[in-house]
Amino acid sequence: MNQLTLSIIFYVFAAVTVLSAAFVVFSKNVIYSAFALLFTFFGVAALYVFLSSDFIAVTQVVVYVGGILVLLLFGVMFTNTIMQTDLKTDVLHVVPGTILLLLMIAGMLYTFYTTGDWMPGDVQLQGSVVQRVGFETMSRYMLPFEMASIVLLVALLGAAFLARYDNAHKNEH
């Protein structure tokens, strides 16, 4: 594949990502937002591939699409009475929000494009990311790795408790 093809593909995915993200944010239909998120996540995963981290890309699909998105969809389906609320009532502070949005983009882009010297050069990531991740978790990032399990445990306990709390709550009445 030559450079041009690659660029085209990059732009395709970049467009998919940005447009679908915009759709997520601006769509008045929550379920559409959620499904648009699929494309955002997928596009981001493709960008990760461009950043040579295939493992993170697949992780993105596994966790974000397979997990978080499904969770969000269930959440939407579970609370779907809001589907009828229209855009006007759904959005707060549109004008300041938009101004902020534009300002933010402008500011960040300005910073990115003016700060040229944080690019130390095009050093490519070498070797298989999977194995390197494996080694890193077992060496330098051991503690965070164990902490991650505790974070997950706590999240599980907390979320399960919250979901259950509700049932217990209801039974009391």
Binding site: L4, I31, F35, D54, V58, V61, V129, V130
Partner: protein, 359 residues
């Protein structure tokens, strides 16, 4: 890594072939599985299912359409092409259309990493197995989209059940596959096969060379049934309860897409299980003395033959189960997943790890 790359000579050569800026070779590489799915799903998958079920039920099965009914599925697909395509008024048009698309693409994308023999694979990703586990997520979203988009009660029930089932069984399935990955020390699908090929044929398969491999093998097999919504886990499309599950409202070509996707993923899981535990394209025949059966039956063509045969064997077992067993109920399904398979998967995980370290 280098070995695997040299193995995929054909697909690499093809993918290097560019026409102008467009990688035409890749299209050809990608088209092969497509043709395969179509052929397989059309002629063997559905036809085989019907014939096998018929024989198990003392019937003849398709007989009149083509010799021995061989053209039956072709006729089905051709007919579905001609059927009117109904989009219910109440449905959400966008989701309704996108559902089968995502579903089919998801099931098709999984075939990228499936090696059809030592010389042919879409892409030998070094996260291959992980990718194969993960891409199911797309199907999940496709199912939700079609179930929700139909705005049909049966479809919604089917979709939600199906999603809950698929995501639940992904845990034991992936832990079981993890055991395989631990044995091979890689996630590349080609490497799995390489690691399990050798002069003693089937003796190199993890299933036979590793006493613990039976446990993850069984766990993955059961979980894969659930992931593809096959009986006894076919509650999402349980005919007697939910009419036709999440594709109740689909007609014509859209229905055909589900049809193909379903049989595609059936072959996919069969392929994965035969690669991870049964050596994929590695020939099962051992070299006996000077009678080099194994060497004789290795090679690109033989490899393709073996993996397809192994895949068919598992598909046969899937069908066999389907036509024998009643179906489980949702709570039993969850019980089986979380309280039987997942603990056992963890046990298998620990045992495999210990075995691999101390063997």
């Amino acid at each position: 890594m280098s070995q695997s790359i040299s193995l995929n000579t054909w697909s690499d050569a093809l993918s290097g072939f560019n026409l102008g800026w467009f990688p035409l070779g890749l299209v050809i590489v990608a088209a092969v599985p497509l043709v395969f799915i179509a052929l397989y799903a059309l002629t063997y998958g559905v036809y085989g299912e019907r014939k096998i079920s018929a024989f198990m039920q003392d019937r003849l099965g398709p007989m009149e359409v083509g010799p021995w009914g061989l053209l039956q599925t072709l006729a089905d697909i051709l007919k579905l092409l001609q059927k009117e395509d109904i989009v219910p008024t109440a449905a959400d048009k966008f989701l309704f259309v996108i559902g089968p698309l995502i579903m089919f693409v998801g099931s098709f994308l999984a075939f990228v990493v499936l090696p059809f023999g030592p010389a042919f694979i879409g892409a030998d990703l070094n996260v291959g197995l992980f990718y194969a586990v993960g891409i199911v997520a797309l199907e999940v979203v496709g199912i939700l989209a079609s179930g929700w988009g139909s705005n049909n009660k049966w479809a919604l029930y089917g979709a939600v059940r199906s999603v809950a089932q698929i995501v639940s069984y992904e845990i034991p399935a992936s832990i079981a596959l993890l055991c395989g990955a631990m044995m091979a020390g890689t996630l590349s699908m080609q490497q799995f096969c390489v690691a399990q090929s050798g002069p003693y044929g089937f003796m190199h398969y993890y299933l036979f060379s590793n006493p613990i491999a039976w446990l993850p093998f069984l766990i993955y097999f059961i979980a894969s049934l659930a992931e593809t919504n096959r009986a006894p886990f076919d509650i999402p499309e349980a005919e007697s309860e939910l009419v036709a599950g999440f594709f109740t409202e689909y007609s014509g070509m859209k229905f055909a897409m589900f049809f193909l996707a379903e049989y595609g993923s059936m072959f996919m899981v069969s392929g994965i299980i035969s690669i991870v535990f049964l050596g994929g394209w590695a020939s099962p025949l051992p070299n006996i003395g000077s009678f080099a059966l194994n060497t004789m039956t290795s090679g690109p063509a033989w490899g393709a033959f073996w993996i397809i045969m192994k895949g068919f064997f598992f598909i046969f077992v899937q069908m066999w189960l389907r036509w024998t067993l009643p179906r489980l109920r949702v709570d039993q399904l969850m019980y089986l997943c979380w309280k039987v398979l997942t603990p056992f998967a963890f046990v298998a995980f620990v045992l495999t790890a210990v075995w691999e370290i101390y063997k």
